[in-house]
Amino acid sequence: MSITRDEVAHLARLSRLALSDEDLDHLAPQLNQIISAVARVQEVAAEGIPPTSHALPLTNVYREDEPRPCLPADVVLSQAPAVEQQRFKVPRILDEELPDE
């Protein structure tokens, strides 16, 4: 079960990590080694075994539809890298993932 350097580069893009060629050279074999090791889970016969996503069988935890105090805008924006018109200023967005117009 090996992962190619190209696949590692793809993973880096998906994860929004601007890795250099050097980084990729270093990381790819490490990832490969780890993936081989964790692939051991496939040895386990798990037909019909339900997956567990929670340690405890809790269900139906809700809250009531009651308003609670919000953070003041100045606190919300106080540590933003950039602010304009009381909004978070972010660099131009290329991806039209969910165009909200």
Partner: protein, 513 residues
Amino acid sequence: MSDDLTRMTAAELSGELRAKNVSATEVTQAHLDRIAGADDHVHAFLHVATEQALAAARSVDDRRAAGEELGPLAGVPVALKDVFTTTDMPTTAGSKILNGWQPPYDATVTTRLRDAGAIILGKTNMDEFAMGSSTENSAFGPSHNPWDLGRIPGGSSGGSAAAVAAYEAPLAIGTDTGGSIRQPAAVCGITGVKPTYGGNSRYGVIAFASSLDTPGPLARTVLDAALLQEAISGHDRMDATSIPEAAPPVVAAARQADVSGLRIGVVTELSGEGYQPGVLARFQQAVELLESLGAKVTEVSCPHFRYALPAYYLIAPSECSSNLARFDAMRYGLRVGDDGNLSAEEVMALTREAGFGAEVKRRIMLGTYALSSGYYDAYYGKAQQVRTLIARDFEAAFGQADVLVSPTTPTTAFKIGERADDPMAMYLADLATIPSNLAGNAALSVPCGLAPEDNLPVGLQIMAPVLADDRAYRVAAAAEAAFTERWGHPLLADATGPASLSAASEITKGAGR
């Protein structure tokens, strides 16, 4: 006098404070002095909150003077792992990417500590985003094991463990996701507890792996850990995964300290190859000791525990790849590359590359891989099934024994730098602790001696069923009492590094350097 104060357990300090033999301010100052003297060597703290701590101490003193009834931890200092949000101190999660972020809200654990009157001395060092077993992944340099400064204090709650072992604080809070409280506690010769998952609120805990992260106490005695746990545990409506039931009575159990008639199960799969001989020897002696106290010892097999490590290293990175996506330079923290030309996507990628360390990047990519369509079933999906099998192994084992035991970690504290370039070797530190994270049951580590080959601490891991945390405390306290009697003193007294009290005054003198 101040040496005496830092030497005391939390229970002892509590008594002295209650009796008004000493003030919270004195206690706090003594510990701040100790930190000033020792922390240049130990580097347990990322942030020492001198002003806030003294102010909190004064407030406790005023309230006590006014006749108010205060809880047992009022005036007792505690160190907080830098993964918990605090409004009056920065919170880094051991990473550069938060870049001085000061949270606008306190974690529930933080709030409960403040409400209990505990004095938060500061924030302790940790592996970045709780990923690691040595604090070497901290963006701010590792912490050092008070037993031997050239060795790791364990991780990811290494700073918390080192602080307690170096007498800088009687109590500390950490988080345990794969062993990150228990393993540091073991290699530092102190007690550390991972409660049943959901026993302590995760609201305000910077998330690593949501279904595994568990805040818990570190202390020099089992009773101290219990006192701290009772102060912070309980249902939190801000955390949908927090246990609704009343918390188990761990303080009473710690005082009960009795194992007669209890069945102790030794887990076959959690020993043998990969475990240091001296660790196994001390573990074996611990089991014999428990038997001599009246416990019945059996061997139990948990066949799927072999798959716990690979399952964990699929589940945890998967959840973390998602939890860490929010660090994208848009709303807070580090922003790199915003020159007016680069796109948001590029700025995100440059920032995350610069702000995250190697281990974090590895796990993010591993998690992204495991969740990818086409791979989900074989990796993440399979790992979640293995998790069910491990939980069933525990259930079956707890049918044969009341508690299960193992060495907490396969080796004693390794040298700083020894495993830093070998992720797989580093991961092996979690072999024995991980199963309890996957199943969510309670588990703790209590000191059981020094390994003969290197004179470094060994921890005994005690595991109890889900919601039966008190049972683990009961057995641990019994073991602790018996060991202390056998050794003539607590294990820590054997430390010859900065943790030792004889060295304390030398270090304090040298603090001016």
